[in-house]
């Protein structure tokens, strides 16, 4: 390098080299990636073009359940521009099954297809158009089998078996010994505490019901995109994945490679919400690239991403018992979650749903049995607040019904029964680490419910006439909901912090930037420890070859777990700075303070980071490298011992229902981000607002429709509607609660998922308060209108 570098500066203490600092932790600093994204310059996987890169297209099965009797690719091979075609026959040298929970899914269909849309063959060609045209020329003959495209069909005594082979556990389910498969039930999670029968027998009130929850599409706007490039026996993947290290592990096992020969690079992600967790399109892309001998890109269309992963639809039965004074006694819940044709994260979703079923109350007895069920539909996996979103609206609507039957205030029944900090949530697991009563009172107050303090009353119901509208046509109601979500996943994260000779800082951490603002928050954590200006801290994307291990980006774990690793790594660098400063300033380290851009002693003498690094190495070079590690403490880190923390799911809603049309309008929402410490309050609020709108979509209109033959009927954004600008409630309040009770850096704990579980529950409760109790989501106008007619006649 010939350009003039920084001048050699005098190394040694001097006055006023550094000034006081205001911690950036807790400040809403600008997003580090914001201006790049605003300029259209942020690079996503689909923006990458490798030399010689081919374009992939997938042949999807047109039927839901069938034996494949023949695959003829000869016509497709002759098409100009076609470089390679992959079918099941190309996988004979591999054990081609993957799945982190159950190793049940072949890279492409082998002998049999299990859902409409399952990949049967893949074409790689010089252009996307050629690949698409070639796919249409592949001739496949199917011998159709009976289809079980619903929970009811899959659980029937004569149901066709969707998987006949023995189940094999995957390598990252974290659920201990998996129970044997029972028909199409691939996983069960159950527990029983206390004497359930006696508690129900003693109850003054028992509420019971059957409930239905829909399949939902996460719709990250960037669809699943992967590029695979084999070179010299190594494999490099660029992928829109949330969990690059778990992808690396599965790919290495599939292709028989050591971990270090599989490199996973993650550019910016255009949203994730769980849809890009674990392994998705990577095995298939790697397999076709292996055959083609050239890099291949596969970029899903929305219709393809919808059958790559979705949220589990579910049916459930629940009973809740309470004493005459409103003390809750017992709850019993059975749930069946439809995981589609392959387990994906279904077992974990099922376990989390089971844990969410009781709700955070002081029960005498509880029994829960949650089942994960194969059907001939697209596979279901993670979606933000999974499990909790499935069960919270059910449990909370039953609690409201208990209160109504006892003529009790719905806030009061929660005050009376909610767990308090330190109480047991689940035997052997982490006790409650949040003030739920404080949270629910805040959320109620925020929607104008006069219940901010003890003894607060019910909102007036059924305010009729507004603004000259027909009297009696519109009714309003309010609701709140409280729940917990087991968060943090397996607590293993590493981070490295590097400080260069100019004092600039690079943070290497495996958290992927989905839009949540992880790079900004990680920079703030490092800056907060070191005193480096946050604009001089850079956090890059993940490259498994150079970035230290991080289990995953999900379960609201990044700030808490990966952030703690970053804090420790930054502290490691700070310790080195203090050591050098102590020698140079001739002061004991305990009398030195990190200040803006440097270290200062008690008398105000200081050295800048730049001076300290140079002093340490004796020239304008070298760097300080700090390591941070988070690992299970005093246990295995298993799901049973967890969670890392309980994510709070608290929200309130006010709705209006049009009794003539069944249209439900959400007027007000409130959420509580109980985050221990908000590293960046603005980003915390955005998490809750985004989750609120997804919650409105989940509650009011989002639903994937599978026909009895397994065909997904609404596989475009034309027929699958997500919330738009006009769906924002007139008032959307987010209260940030900072009790410093998180296990993460500066007392922080994660956020961003709880609102998605709580908002639908609050909406359901608000609608019941308006006189229309519902047991099926989403609350479409037709469903609500039919319910209103039923209520009129009953």
């Amino acid at each position: 390098m010939t350009a003039a570098g920084p001048r050699e500066s005098a190394v040694g203490p001097r006055e006023s080299a550094v000034g006081p600092r205001e911690s950036v932790v807790g400040q809403s600093v600008e997003r580090a990636d914001g201006r790049l994204k605003l300029a259209g310059q942020a690079e996503f996987t689909g923006d990458i073009r490798l030399p010689g890169m081919l374009y992939g297209a997938v042949l999807h099965s047109p039927v839901a359940h069938a034996r494949i009797s023949s695959v003829d690719t000869s016509a497709a091979e002759k098409l100009g521009g076609v470089a390679a075609i992959l079918t099941g026959e190309d996988l004979s040298d591999l054990d081609p099954y993957y799945g982190h929970a159950l190793r049940d899914r072949p890279i492409v269909a082998l002998g049999k297809v299990r859902f409409t849309g399952e990949p049967v063959a893949v074409v790689a060609a010089e252009s996307q158009a050629a690949a698409d045209a070639a796919v249409a020329l592949i001739d496949v003959e199917y011998d159709e089998l009976p289809v079980a495209a619903s929970l009811e069909k899959a659980l029937a005594p004569d149901a066709p078996l969707i998987h006949e082979e023995p189940a094999r556990p995957g390598s990252a389910h974290g659920l201990g010994k998996l129970p044997d498969r029972d028909g199409n039930v691939c996983y069960r999670y159950s527990f029983r505490r206390g004497d359930v029968d006696r508690a129900f027998a003693a109850a003054a009130v028992v509420v019971e019901g059957e409930y239905t929850f829909p399949a939902v599409y996460q719709y990250s706007m960037e669809t699943h995109t992967t590029i695979a490039h084999w070179h010299g026996g190594e494999l490099t993947l660029w992928s829109s994945c949330q969990h690059p290290f778990l992808v690396r592990q599965e790919i290495a096992v599939l292709f028989g490679l050591p971990l270090d020969l599989v490199q996973v690079i993650v550019p910016f992600l255009g949203g994730g919400f769980g849809s890009k967790s674990y392994t998705k399109m990577e095995p298939l892309t790697a397999a076709i690239a292996r055959k083609a001998g050239r890099p291949v890109r596969i970029l899903n269309g929305v219709h393809e991403s919808m059958i790559t992963t979705r949220r589990h639809n579910m049916t459930a039965r629940m009973r809740t018992a309470a004493a005459a004074d409103g003390t809750v006694l017992a709850r019993s819940c059975q749930a069946w979650l439809d995981t589609g044709a392959y387990a994906d994260n279904g077992p974990r979703v099922t376990a989390t749903a089971g844990d969410a079923a009781p709700g955070p109350y002081r029960w005498q007895a509880v029994e829960v049995a949650a089942h994960c069920v194969y059907t001939n539909t697209g596979p279901a996996g993670s979606y933000r607040a999974f499990g909790a979103t499935h069960l919270q609206w059910i449990g909370e609507s039953q609690l409201d019904e208990v209160a109504r039957r006892l003529s009790m205030d719905r806030l009061e029944i929660r005050r009376r029964n909610l767990l308090r900090p330190g109480e047991e949530v689940r035997p052997g697991g982490k006790p409650l680490d949040a003030d739920l009563i404080g949270d629910v009172e805040k959320t109620a107050a925020a929607i104008g419910w006069a219940g901010g303090e003890r003894g607060g009353g019910e909102p007036p119901r059924a305010r009729g006439v507004q603004g000259g509208r027909p009297p009696g046509r519109y009714r309003r109601g309010r609701g709140v909901a409280v729940g917990l979500l087991a968060a943090g996943a397996h607590p293993v994260s590493m981070a490295t912090v590097r400080m260069g000779p100019d004092g600039s800082v690079t943070v290497l951490v495996g958290t992927t930037e989905l839009g949540q603002g992880a790079r900004t928050v990680m920079a703030q954590i490092a800056a907060g420890v070191l005193g480096t200006p946050v604009t001089r801290v850079v956090v890059r994307g993940t490259d498994t070859r150079y970035t230290p291990y991080d289990r995953s980006t999900g379960a609201s774990r990044s700030t808490t777990v990966a952030g703690l690793a970053v804090q420790r790594a930054a502290q490691d660098v700070l310790d080195a700075l203090l050591e050098t400063a102590a020698a140079r300033l001739e002061a004991p380290p305990q009398l030195l303070t990190p200040v803006e851009g440097g270290i200062q002693d008690a008398s105000g003498r200081g050295m800048t980071h730049q001076e300290l690094v140079r002093a340490r190495f004796g020239f304008d070079g070298g760097e300080l490298i700090g390591h941070g590690r988070v690992q299970p403490e005093g246990g295995s880190g298993s799901y049973a011992e967890g969670p890392v923390f309980w994510e709070v799911c608290v929200a309130g809603a006010e709705v209006e229902v049009d009794l003539e049309t069944g249209v439900v309008t959400v007027l007000r929402t409130s959420t509580v981000a109980d985050v221990g410490k908000a590293i960046n309050p603005q980003l915390v609020a955005r998490q809750d607002e985004g989750a609120t709108l997804q919650g409105i979509g989940n509650a009011l209109f989002e639903e994937m429709h599978f026909a009895p033959d397994g065909m997904l009927l609404n596989d475009t954004l034309l027929s699958y509607r997500i919330p738009a600008f006009r769906d924002i409630p007139a008032t959307m309040n987010c209260s940030i609660v900072e009790n410093g009770d998180g296990p993460g850096p500066f007392g922080a704990k994660g956020c961003g998922e709880g609102a998605l579980a709580a908002v639908p529950a609050a909406i359901v409760n608000a609608l019941a308060d308006a006189g229309v109790p519902m047991n099926t989501l989403p609350l479409t106008p037709e469903r609500v209108w039919r319910r209103i007619q039923d209520l009129k006649t009953s």
């Binding site: 809403s28 600008e30 997003r31 990636d33 914001g34 201006r35 790049l36 994204k37 605003l38 300029a39 259209g40 310059q41 942020a42 690079e43 996503f44 689909g46 923006d47 996307q128 158009a129 719709y219 990250s220 706007m221 960037e222 669809t223 910016f268 992600l269 255009g270 949203g271 919400f273 970029l299 269309g301 929305v302 989905l514 839009g515 949540q516 603002g517 603005q682 980003l683 609020a685 955005r686 809750d688 607002e689 985004g690 989750a691 609120t692 709108l693 997804q694 475009t716 954004l717 034309l718 997500i722 919330p723 738009a724 600008f725 006009r726 769906d727 924002i728 959307m732």
Partner: protein, 159 residues
Amino acid sequence: MMEKVSATINGTPFKGEVPAEELLLDFLRDRLGLTGTKQSCEVQVCGVCTVLVDGNPVSSCCYLAVDIDGREVETIEGLAGSDFHRRAADAFMRHAAVQCGFCTAGMLLTAKALAARGAGDERLGDRDEIATAMSGNLCRCTGYRSILDSLTELLGGTT
């Protein structure tokens, strides 16, 4: 079949041949390397691929490249650096209205077309009107409020 196209793209003349069936989105991204325009729904619902043709927002996923013949096209790469973009970017940053960033370019281009309706359109400062006008742009991350706050501030200021 190739067709001759003569157009102005981000202020620069373009003359060349494009396949008759090629979409404007693919033309911009694959042929010109203007990858700031993203692809998502492919059915003209999400607004992610919005660009301006003669100042009007169009979904480039459903617009043939040959149809830009004789017209002016503006993408995020052209908008960036303009005074409007600077003010918009400041407003979006102030309100933290960018999360994953996939929808952002389309939002900004639709907003520019709205702003161009200009002083004659007094509704532009009204939140509800802006929300309605932005209905063709979806965002799955933010919950919209921060974007609407940014746009209300931005467009309100231009009327």
